[in-house]
Symmetry: C2
Subunit: 118 residues, 2 copies
DNA sequence: GTACAATGCTATAATATTTGTAGCTTTGCT
DNA sequence: AGCAAAGCTACAAATATTATAGCATTGTAC
């Protein structure tokens, strides 16, 4: 599949709007997980493979290429690492952690009483 | 595939951490696009199909079910709409729009001079 | 300098997801 | 009754992902 970049048509949007390219890029398996994990520090290919418990090397490699082509990660002597842009993206993603834990997760328990009907 | 919910093991994480469930859920094709689009207001199944230019009805329906099961969207008389949680999630996603446009998109043009080497 | 382990992959076949297309069913006009 | 729109389902084809094996390179340790 084509690597989604701003300015080019992507899945679901011929307009080339950057946000659409970004959503396409991040909406691929493991893409956000890799960014999320690399915030902890650079990691090797095998290290990422262990972290993403069930990713195949094929997919990991594809995803790493895409993220590199899109300037979010780079290779360093210590392994793959976030670029400046990757860091910024992580910072945008980061609030989702707290929200998921403190707000979203709660929505599952009470709803059992409120909306039994499917 | 299983619908990723906080507390249950998901793709890439046996821990059941809410953020991992969320990243799994949103890392499926069109999931973020649907949330992004519904912020503009409720929309019908066919309306969403038109918006997501190349989504198949099968996938759209699957995704809608998942998002509903995860309390992010609901059905209303005007069509599918964001829930309170969906709105909150949109608000977390929203800053990515500006960042993609004003920061990320720029990273593609200058790099041509800086890093010619693959 | 040669074993050995670790890393970064590639190859290949099996499985899962997504698309593309057709069309059925229900609802609401007219 | 006829027609159009909405919300799907069915199913085959195309694409993405996994699982497993293994190769090539690099860096110690003898």
């Amino acid at each position: 599949m084509d690597i989604p970049k701003p300015g080019a048509p992507v899945r679901g949007s011929k307009s080339g709007q950057p946000i659409m390219a970004l959503l396409d890029l991040l909406g691929r398996s493991w893409a956000m997980g890799i960014v999320w994990h690399l915030y902890a520090g650079p990691n090797t290919f095998r290290g990422l493979q262990d972290y993403c418990e069930s990713i195949s090397p094929t997919t990991l490699n594809t995803r790493l290429k895409e993220l590199r082509d899109c300037n979010l990660i780079k290779r360093t002597l210590e392994g793959y690492a976030l670029t400046e842009y990757g860091q910024e993206l992580y910072e945008l993603l980061e609030p989702m952690g707290g929200w998921a834990r403190h707000r979203w997760a709660k929505s599952f328990t009470h709803n059992n009483e409120k909306k039994q009907a499917k």
